[in-house]
C-alpha cells in the first residue's frame, strides 16, 4: 500500500516516528530505561542466571541448599525452602513476565484497535453489534474470569493472555472508536472518498496512522495489567507450576511461611520487580498522555 509516486524516508524511521515515543518526560524516560533493562535481562537470562530456576540445589557438603541467606554458599539472593536459587528465579521470571505482558498488550491493542476502527468508521449495525459485544466484555469481572478459564483449561501462563484477548480489548476499542468518529469527519476523509479511494484504503492510509499512538498508549497500560494479573493468578495458586514467574515466587514464599522465617530476600525482590515493571508501564503511559493530550496541563 506504499505510495509509489513519493519518496518517503525509510519505513522503520517512519514507524518509530509514528509511535511518538515520549522522550521528553523524565518519568517516561525512566520507565523506558527500566523496560530496556528488563528486556535485556530476559534476552540474556541464560547468561545472567547462575542456575536453572527449578533446579533443586545442594551445598558442597551434600545438604539441601534450602533457606540460605543472601551471600551464603555464593547464592546472591539466597535460596528457597526447596533449595532453588532465588536470583535465577528472578532472572528467568523476567522472561515470563515480559512474554505475557507484551503478548497480552499486543493482543489487547490489536483487537481493540481493529474493533474500534471498524466500529467507528462504518457505523450502523456493525457499530451497534461490536459495541454490544464490548458492553458484554465490560460486564465480565476480569480476575474471576481468568480463574474460571484456568479451571477449564490446564494451568498455563497463556491463560492470562487468552483471557485478556477475550475481554480487555474493550477499553481500547471504545477510545479508538471515539477517535475514529472524530477523524471520519475530517475533510480529507471526504476528499479521499470523492477521489475514489476504497474504505479499506482510507482506513489504512488516513485513519490508522492517527490512532496508532493511542493504540500504543493502551498497549502500554495493558502490559502492567497482564503482569499484575499473572502474578495474582499465580499467587492464588492457579498459575502454571512448571514455569517460574514472580507471582509464583510470591506464592511459593507465602506457602513456605517466608514471612515468619523473615526470609525477606525471597519475596521482596519479586515484589519489587513487579512494582518496577508495572510502574514503568504507567510512566510511559503518562508520557504518551502528555504527548497526545497536552492540554491536560500537568
Amino acid at each position: 500500500m506504499l505510495d509509489v509516486a513519493s519518496r518517503k524516508p525509510n519505513l522503520v524511521a517512519r514507524l518509530l516516528r509514528s509511535l511518538r515515543l515520549p522522550l521528553n518526560d523524565p518519568f517516561a524516560l525512566f520507565g523506558l530505561a527500566i523496560y530496556v533493562v528488563f528486556v535485556l535481562t530476559a534476552i540474556c537470562a541464560n547468561y545472567l542466571a547462575p542456575y536453572d530456576p527449578t533446579e533443586i540445589l545442594y551445598t558442597p557438603s551434600y545438604d539441601l541448599a534450602a533457606d540460605l541467606r543472601p551471600g551464603q554458599e555464593g547464592f546472591v539472593l539466597g535460596t528457597t525452602s526447596l533449595g532453588r536459587d532465588i536470583f535465577s528465579q528472578i532472572v528467568y521470571g523476567t522472561r515470563s513476565a515480559l512474554l505475557i505482558g507484551i503478548t497480552a498488550a499486543f493482543m489487547v491493542a490489536l483487537i481493540g484497535s481493529i474493533v474500534g476502527l471498524i466500529s467507528g468508521y462504518f457505523g450502523g449495525w456493525v457499530d451497534a453489534l461490536l459495541m454490544r459485544l464490548a458492553d458484554i466484555a465490560f460486564g465480565i469481572p476480569f480476575l474471576p474470569f481468568v480463574i474460571v478459564l484456568a479451571a477449564f483449561l490446564k494451568p498455563s501462563v497463556w491463560n492470562v493472555v487468552i483471557a485478556m484477548a477475550l475481554v480487555l480489548w474493550r477499553d481500547t476499542a471504545r477510545v479508538i472508536r471515539s477517535q475514529v468518529l472524530t477523524l471520519r469527519t475530517r475533510g480529507y476523509v471526504d476528499a479521499a472518498r470523492v477521489a475514489g479511494s476504497s474504505d479499506l484504503k482510507i482506513i489504512l492510509r488516513h485513519i490508522t496512522p492517527n490512532i496508532l499512538p493511542l493504540s500504543f498508549l493502551y498497549g502500554s497500560i495493558a502490559i502492567g495489567w497482564a503482569i499484575l494479573t499473572e502474578a495474582s493468578i499465580s499467587f492464588l495458586g492457579f498459575g502454571d507450576p512448571e514455569s517460574i514467574s514472580w507471582g509464583y515466587m510470591l506464592q511459593d514464599a507465602f506457602a513456605s511461611q517466608a514471612l515468619a522465617k523473615q526470609a525477606y530476600y525471597w519475596f521482596v525482590p519479586p515484589g519489587i520487580c513487579i512494582i518496577l515493571v508495572v510502574s514503568a508501564g504507567f510512566f510511559i503511559t503518562r508520557g504518551y498522555e502528555n504527548i497526545l493530550f497536552p492540554k491536560l496541563g500537568r
Binding site: D3, V4, A5, S6, R7, R186, G187, Y188, D190, A191, A192, R193, V194, A195, G196, S197, S198, K201, R205, H206, P209, N210
Partner: protein, 325 residues
C-alpha cells in the same frame, strides 16, 4: 460539445435525517431533519450555477448528495442520463472520476501527514494511472492552478503552504482526473480577503478552459455573482428562486431573495441602512412552518401561504416558489 445537453438532472431530491428519539417526540419536536426537501433543477453542460443560501438551508447537503458523500433518501439524481442514487462499485468509481469537490477549508481537506505529491497522487492511484505518468500529471495540474514553479511544492507538507496556495492544491487535486462536473463548497470563505481574488480568478479561468460544469455553493451573493451566470436560492431545504444571477441581484422576486440582496453590505460608504424586509428569528430545520417554509418571516405572507406549499413556477426568466407569482 453540445451546449444544450443536460448534464445533471435533479428531481425532487430529499435528504432526511432522523434525529433525537422518543424523548424528543414527547416534547413535540419532530424527529426528522429535512436537510433537503424536494429540490429539482437541471444543469446544462458548461453552466455555472450558484447555490446560495444561509446556514441550514441545505446547500451543502445538496452538494454532498451530488457527489454521493450522502445518499439521497428520496427523489432522483441523474448524471449524463444515468441515475446516480444507488450507484456502487466500478460504476461509482467511474462517476467519481467525472464529478469532483473543492472543499471549504484547505487545511482540513488535505491529510496533514501527506506531502503535496502524495495528496495529488491519491486520485491517480485510484484511477489506476500508470506510475510513470503520474509525476507529469501532477505537475500539469499544479500549473493549471497557476502555482509558480510547481516542483518546489511536491515534497512540502500542507502546513508549509499558505491558505491560498493550499486551496489551489485542493483545486488541482479535484481537476487532476479532468472531471466534467465540479462542486465548489465555499472555496474561498476561509481565505484572507486579498487572497480570495486570486483563487477565484483561477477557478473561473480553469472552468472556462476545461469547459467544466460547476456548482458554486456560497452564502455570499457577491462572490456567487462573480463566478456564476445563474443562481439558485435555497431556504430550509427548498428552492425559493432560480434564475440568471444578474436578474436576481437587480430585481429579486422572492421575498427571501429580496431580503438577502438588501442585506449584503458593499465596500463603500453610500449604502442603504433601511431595515430589512424580513422577520427576525432563525430557520429551524426540525420544525419548518407548514405550507411555505418562509412564511413566518415573510412580510407579505397571507393565508394561502400557510395551507399550500408554493410550487416552483416560471416567472419571466426564472422560477419562483411563491404564491405572489
Amino acid at each position: 460539445m453540445d451546449s444544450n445537453e443536460t448534464l445533471v438532472s435533479v428531481r425532487n431530491a430529499q435528504l432526511h435525517y432522523g434525529v433525537g428519539g422518543a424523548l424528543q417526540a414527547l416534547r413535540g419536536r419532530s424527529s426528522v431533519v429535512k436537510a433537503v426537501d424536494g429540490v429539482s433543477f437541471e444543469l446544462k453542460r458548461g453552466e455555472s450555477v450558484g447555490l446560495l443560501g444561509e446556514s441550514g438551508c441545505g446547500k451543502t447537503s445538496m452538494g454532498r448528495l451530488l457527489l454521493k458523500l450522502e445518499e439521497a433518501t428520496g427523489g432522483e439524481i441523474f448524471f449524463a442520463g444515468q441515475p446516480i442514487v444507488g450507484l456502487r462499485g466500478a460504476a461509482l468509481r467511474q462517476y467519481r472520476a467525472k464529478a469532483q469537490l473543492i472543499f471549504q477549508n484547505p487545511f482540513d481537506a488535505v491529510n496533514p501527514r501527506f506531502t503535496i505529491r502524495a495528496t495529488l497522487s491519491e486520485p491517480l492511484e485510484n484511477a489506476k494511472i500508470p506510475v510513470r505518468e503520474r509525476e507529469g500529471r501532477i505537475i500539469d495540474a499544479l500549473e493549471l492552478v497557476r502555482l509558480p514553479q510547481p516542483q518546489q511544492f511536491l515534497n512540502r507538507y500542507p502546513h508549509q503552504l499558505s491558505g491560498g496556495q493550499l486551496q489551489r492544491v485542493v483545486m488541482a487535486r479535484a481537476l487532476i482526473l479532468q472531471p466534467e462536473f465540479v462542486v465548489a463548497d465555499e472555496p474561498v470563505s476561509m481565505l484572507d480577503v486579498s487572497v480570495r481574488a486570486g483563487v477565484l480568478n483561477v477557478f473561473r479561468d480553469v472552468r472556462d478552459r476545461l469547459g467544466l460544469t460547476a456548482i458554486y455553493i456560497s452564502h455570499d451573493l457577491a462572490l456567487v455573482r462573480y463566478v456564476c451566470e445563474r443562481t439558485i436560492v435555497m431556504y430550509l431545504g427548498r428552492i425559493m428562486e432560480d434564475g440568471p444571477t444578474e436578474d436576481i441581484v437587480h430585481e429579486p422576486l422572492h421575498p427571501y431573495t429580496r431580503a438577502l440582496v438588501a442585506a449584503v453590505p458593499v465596500p463603500h460608504p453610500d449604502q442603504s441602512h433601511d431595515p430589512l424586509p424580513i422577520g427576525r428569528g432563525a430557520p429551524d430545520p426540525r420544525n419548518p412552518p407548514s405550507g411555505c417554509v418562509f412564511r413566518d418571516r415573510c412580510p407579505y405572507a397571507f393565508d394561502r401561504c400557510a395551507s399550500e406549499v408554493p410550487q416552483l413556477r416560471q416567472a419571466g426568466t426564472r422560477r419562483v416558489a411563491c404564491h405572489l407569482f
